[in-house]
Amino acid sequence: MSDAVRAVERVARLSYGRLVARLAARAGSLADAEDALSDALARALETWPRTGVPDNPEAWLTRTARNRAIDRARSGLLPVAYEQDLTRMAEERSQTPAPTMDPRLPLMFVCAHPAIDPSLRAPLMLQAVLGLDARRMASVFLMPPGTLGQRLTRVKAKIESTAIPFELPEGRDFEARMTDVLNAIYGAYVVGYNGMPAGDPKAATLAQEALWLVSLLADGFPQAAEAHGLFALMLFAEARRPARTDASTGALVPLEEQDTTLWDGGMLGDAETALRNAARRPSLGRYQLEASIQAVHAARARTGATDWDALALLYAGLVEIAPTVGAFTGHAAVLCETEGPAAALTALDAIPEAARASYQPWWATRAHVLARHGDIAAALEAFDRAIGLSDDPAARIYLSGRKARLLQS
């Protein structure tokens, strides 16, 4: 690979989102910005090997992409209004001081706009900010590649036609919109972490992309406690990845049984720093609580024991402010340790049937609780259901092993 090709790839990788954001902010169209940038990248691949890599490759690409957009407007491919806009902006450009804020931040808010289908916010953000293509994301988001591509195209058309502004929301709006951005990033992380087989390299890659997005956000908004909370939460989970599966059997290893020496100590330290950064702000949110829960689990590496009482308190808070089926199920699992299996069963049964019926962690937790309660027949049935609902072979191996041990006992 030539230096020029590597330079194009490096700029594309590091600056893609910033370039798309700048171009889109000026033109109001994400799709056109991406087209213009891919033209400019192609042009760079042609030109740079001959002329050498320019001193400021990003500026070169921005200029070329804008010129390409203007060319296309002139040749009638773009509406006239767009052309006028571009010309006006090209004129303004010389007078406008360079923006100090990372342009990728408002772009992230556009991608998580309330007008956009929540299931598409995460893939849209990964595409617009990091340049991931639909084909690569399809297996992670469990959608046919063609369908995901079409849905993303339609969403970009909607951003344009409804004129969603490429600006940061202000005032009271900001917090709610920030929550949407955080939820989208967490969604990308969760499909990368839980939605994929534990050993799948695609999952690890997507989780790291999501981690990168949240670090941008935490950097850009030092005052946003929840952004730091989510950053901490994701770092805690990521630090434990090497301990998640048993190397010899391929089985999933539950958190409280993981070998803490396999955890990434440096990353755990970063997670604790991020959580402290969050705690400096006078607000408590879902992600800070979830990160605190992870911090309690992580402390086992130092203390050798899990502080279940602290976990019970944190979960009680979590189900208050974020009453999701996942939070209730986690709370029940902790109650099994602090108050016993009967209390845990009551908590599990309190979750509405519709929410839990096909939720694998609910069945896995129920199986564990029933086994502790001594109700073997019901536990075996729950293990079977959890196995049937697993899409991760590592989870199936673990659950089958637990079931076999129960049958022997």
Partner: protein
């Protein structure tokens, strides 16, 4: 919408009819099937005898040909199928990802053409 989920598994998964039956009653397939039934989305489905029990018939140049073995000579072979009734393809794919054949072989999901009564 109804979707067919076809399980394609490598030969090791069905060396003979007894093993097929054992696998069908076995933990993974049994657990998966029960999960579909309990979710109330199962329309139907069958497990098939192994591919060496198949007979393939086709017309070639106006003449009938009968052959032993399955139609498609691929490593993974159709081992069985489910028909499920779910709101959309996204949900169908969620269930297909849980199919044990998604780990050992491949799973094909297709919408079923619905006849209006």
């Amino acid at each position: 919408m109804q979707f067919i989920i076809m399980n394609y598994t490598p030969p090791a998964d069905h060396p003979d009819a007894d093993a097929v039956r054992a696998a069908a009653d076995g933990e993974l397939w049994g657990a998966y099937t029960r999960a579909l039934i309990d979710a109330g989305i199962m329309v139907g489905g069958e497990a098939l005898h192994p591919p060496h029990t198949a007979t393939t018939i086709r017309m070639a140049n106006g003449a009938r040909e009968v052959q032993d073995g399955p139609y498609a000579a691929t490593k993974e072979q159709l081992g069985g199928f489910y028909v499920i009734d779910v709101p959309d393809l996204d949900t169908a794919l969620e269930w297909a990802a849980r199919n044990p054949a998604a780990t050992s072989g491949a799973v094909e999901v297709r919408p079923v053409i619905m006849r209006t009564p």
